[in-house]
């Protein structure tokens, strides 16, 4: 059975159909890229899966649970974590704290445990800390060491994107949704991240869906590519299959011709 299954989902925004009867699935251990021209509904798809929006129609099944009607935090707890296209960190919290927030849904200490400083709570804090550092260490030395206690707003753009991924990793999700993880990175950083996405699956066992514009990244990471246009799936397959699909070329080139005019 697929880990994530989007069945016949639609979403309207005031008459504008952002997602149109979409069927889409992700197998466990897969890296799937979602591509498509601007406004094709990629981010909306993520927002639907993570519960930020509710679909008008259809169901989303993750790991045997129907996600429709659940709140975002419940969905995260079931094992889906995401990053945002416009980096959205907790900028005034430290790098470490940002990652520690990711552990929130895996831990239980409440107000009273904390005030009484119960041993269980202290152990849990320690574990949260370790898990967070573990997630941050995935990016080598970039986010650890003296950076741990710096507020997130001092980070460079690329590091902000990395921290966002680390925060998502810290939720111990099964499925990571990465929304344009390389946007705004320079070519070197992009390459590095492409490799990291592969390692996220191979070493850490995440299943990954990534929205990406950079075709080199898509080519580098994807087991399978799904192409959206106007909220519909117009093609699906390996990178090479999709890259030669006529409808895909049309969707991109058609737009491109308009854009360059």
């Amino acid at each position: 059975m697929a880990l994530l299954e989007v069945r016949n989902v639609s979403k309207d925004f005031g008459g504008l159909r952002a997602i149109d009867h979409l069927d889409f699935h992700v197998e466990e251990g897969e890296i799937v890229s979602v591509i498509g021209p601007n406004g094709a509904g990629k981010t909306t798809l993520f927002n639907l899966i993570t519960g930020l929006f509710q679909p008008d129609d259809g169901e989303i099944i993750f790991d045997g649970h129907n996600l429709v009607g659940l709140r975002p935090d419940q969905i995260t707890k079931l094992g889906i974590a995401r990053t945002f296209q416009t980096v959205r960190l907790f900028f005034n919290m430290s790098v470490l704290e940002n990652a520690m927030v990711g552990q929130h849904c895996r831990t239980r200490s409440g107000v009273i445990d904390t005030i009484l400083s119960l041993p269980r709570q202290r152990q849990e804090e320690e574990r949260i800390r370790q898990k967070a550092i573990e997630a941050l260490s995935f990016f080598g030395t970039r986010l650890v060491g003296f950076r741990l206690h710096q507020p997130a707003f001092v980070l460079s753009y690329a590091n902000r994107r990395r921290l966002e991924i680390a925060r998502a990793m810290a939720t111990e999700a099964k499925l990571l949704l990465l929304d344009e993880p390389t946007a705004g990175m320079n070519p070197r950083e992009t390459l590095e991240l492409t490799e990291l996405i592969g390692r996220l699956r191979d070493e850490k066992g995440f299943t990954i869906v990534v929205i990406e514009h950079d075709m080199r990244v898509v080519k580098g990471v994807s087991d399978r590519v799904v192409v959206l246009d106007y909220g519909r799936k117009i093609a699906e397959g390996t990178y090479d299959e999709v890259a030669h699909n006529e409808r895909v070329l049309e969707a991109y080139l058609g737009r491109k011709a308009v854009r360059s005019a």
């Binding site: 935090d73 707890k77 960190l89 900028f91 929130h104 107000v111 707003f153």
Partner: protein
């Protein structure tokens, strides 16, 4: 293309030679002069100068009224004479006559404003409209010398002080800080005569009082001089070394630091604990009130500072605590009077507060931040109006409230006087401080802060917004209810009038001014904003005026505490550019190094198919 070229050129020029720095903006200074004039006239016309004139700061020569009036040209002159910030690619601005001129302009502005005011007021009787423009005020403003010579004196004083403000910019930093520090402490010690004199007496140093303070109030000249010199020396010699000490301290091993901090904390608690014994009942009364507000400040800080929920009806929880205590402990409670002891009532107080937190909290959970503020304000007012109404009079006594609340006691110890009450209040404050310190660095605290920073993202990261907002409301409500319970036993009675919106606003101001999230900040805020007006009755009248100004200034110049992220982002821009430049440089250096080290050997780049 042709259009782009000149821009490039400028960029190159900037890198090669430094541009001349901007100079002190005299136009701005002139504008500020106008502002200074308005401020001076305002504080005169609204009665502050006259009301404060009663209180001497330095015995015959300086009253608080004059101090207020003359600080206007001095401080605004100093601000106007500030050089523009150093920008990259520009020379550092030079100090010079322009700073002084800026100060002078402000002085002139103040003088013109005040002179016009005095002239108009001496010709036309403004009193029917401006109640406080009295002959006494005019006499004060003209130093009792009549309009002609007095006005000349006033003008000279303002101009001189404005210029001095400008001159302060030319003084080296260290000396300048010491001068300001000396001035501030002299004014403060003069103002706090009641406290300091009491302190001398309490410590058995009564003779010092005669040296420092004049019989009719205010510091003696000797006293003022001593205070100024001591403060000056402190700022000149001690303060510049603090950084070095801090660096030393930071290098100590963690355990030593910990024990050091614990020691300091114990010392502070012991000293604070001895305070009321030394300071006597009047000052202790004030300290009690400060403590209760501090307690509420710590509670509201959890709601506003940690969780980012602007609660303007916080007084409702204070009222819940006070009324629950009153009903459960007072024999005079109209409907139910179980006459429990304070400590037996306390669990019920906590329960009632938690319930109130849920009742107020639940409906507002999904609300926009500003609507939440207004709804909580509405709840606060509803609570007060209901308590006041005839409808609930059979239960809560209406406007007459509930009297005869028994004193607090632990076993045989009864806390009767303000001096006694200080200790339970201090105890509860410590508990509240401990709670907020503990929560701040915990799973719950982090989730609150994440929620404050970006609610949507926090939710997407697995934080249950509803649950956490409710928790913040409940914890905040319980701490406020402690404040209410202590307030009830301290006063011995509760009235609806004690629970007005102004309490909520006071607590809000105190935490905003104290700097959100900082516990020492809240302490200083409570001392200055609640303690000072209680101590000096003439401040009381102008307390809320000052709060209003403080709120505006804090939001204009230091909004970080409240909603930091977006503000930071703007300032950040520059830093980010620098970081990007640095990254590029690193990149370049690495590439060169690689090229040199391994000629012909291509850099292994992963991910390339």
């Amino acid at each position: 293309m042709a259009e782009i070229a000149p821009v490039r050129k400028v960029a190159v020029v900037e890198e090669e030679i430094k541009l001349k720095a901007e100079e002190v903006d005299l136009q701005r200074a002139a504008k500020l002069g106008g502002v200074a004039g308005l401020v001076a006239v305002f504080v005169s016309a609204n009665g502050m100068v006259q009301a404060f004139a009663e209180r001497a700061i330095i015995s015959p020569i300086l009253s608080m009224g004059y101090a207020l009036l003359f600080l206007v040209p001095l401080v605004i002159g100093y601000l106007a004479a500030k050089e523009p910030p150093v920008r990259e690619g520009f020379e550092a601005p030079k100090k010079g006559p322009r700073n002084v001129v800026a100060g002078l302009l402000v002085g002139v502005g103040t003088a013109v404003g005040l002179a016009l005011f005095v002239l108009v007021a001496s010709v036309v009787n403004l009193r029917p409209v401006f109640l406080n423009v009295s002959p006494e005020l005019l006499e004060l403003l003209t130093f009792g010398q009549g309009v002609g010579p007095g006005l000349a004196l006033l003008v000279v004083a303002c101009v001189v002080l404005g210029t001095v403000g400008g001159l302060m910019r030319l003084v080296p930093d260290r000396l300048r800080n010491a001068l300001w520090g000396g001035l501030a402490w002299t004014l403060l010690i003069g103002l706090l005569e009641v406290v300091v004199a009491q302190l001398f007496r309490g410590l058995g140093l009564g003779f010092l009082e005669d040296i420092f303070y004049a019989p009719l109030g205010g510091l003696t000249l000797t006293g003022a001089l001593v205070v100024f010199v001591l403060a000056f020396l402190y700022y000149y010699t001690v303060v510049p070394r603090v950084d070095a000490w801090r660096a030393n301290y930071a290098q100590l091993p963690a355990e030593r630091q910990r024990s050091f901090r614990l020691g300091a904390l114990v010392a502070v608690v012991v000293i604070v604990g001895l305070l009321p014994q030394v300071l006597g009942p009047f000052v202790s009364e004030v300290l009690d009130l400060v403590g209760i507000f501090l307690l509420m400040g710590l509670g509201l800080n959890i709601v506003v500072g940690f969780a980012g929920l602007l609660d303007l009806g916080y007084v409702a929880f204070f009222a819940v605590g006070a009324y629950t205590t009153a009903v459960l402990t007072s024999p005079a409670s109209p409907r139910w009077s179980p006459e429990l002891s304070f400590w037996l009532a306390l669990p019920f107080v906590i329960l009632a507060a938690a319930l109130a937190g849920i009742v107020v909290g639940t409906p507002v959970l999904r609300m926009r931040g500003d609507y939440l503020a207004i709804v909580t304000l509405g709840f606060g007012e509803i609570a007060r109006l209901l308590l006041l109404s005839d409808w609930l009079r059979p239960y809560f006594g209406g406007a007459q409230g509930i009297l005869k609340i028994p004193n607090l006691s632990i076993g045989p110890i009864v806390f009767r006087t303000p001096v006694d009450m200080f200790y339970p209040i201090l105890g509860f404050c410590l508990v509240a401080a401990y709670i907020s310190w503990k929560l701040k660095d915990s799973r719950i605290g982090r989730a609150w802060m994440a929620m404050r920073e970006d609610e949507q993202v926090a939710e997407a990261m697995g934080v249950n917004i509803v649950e956490l907002k409710l928790k913040a409301f409940i914890v905040g409500a319980i701490i406020a209810s402690f404040g209410g319970a202590l307030f009830a036993v301290k006063i011995g009675s509760v009235f609806p009038h004690s629970f007005s919106l102004l309490v909520s606003i006071t607590v809000l101001v105190l935490i905003i001014v104290g700097g959100m999230g900082s516990i020492p900040g809240v302490v200083v805020g409570a001392l200055a904003l609640v303690g000072l007006p209680e101590l000096l009755r003439e401040f009381q009248e102008y307390r809320l005026l000052a709060y209003g100004v403080l709120l505006i200034l804090m939001m204009l110049y230091r909004p970080e505490g409240i909603v930091p992220s977006k503000q930071w982002m703007r300032e950040l821009h520059e830093e980010e550019l620098m970081q990007d430049a640095w990254l590029k440089m690193e990149e370049e250096r690495r590439r060169q190094a690689e090229a040199q080290a391994a000629e012909g050997k291509p850099a292994g780049q992963p991910g390339e198919a």
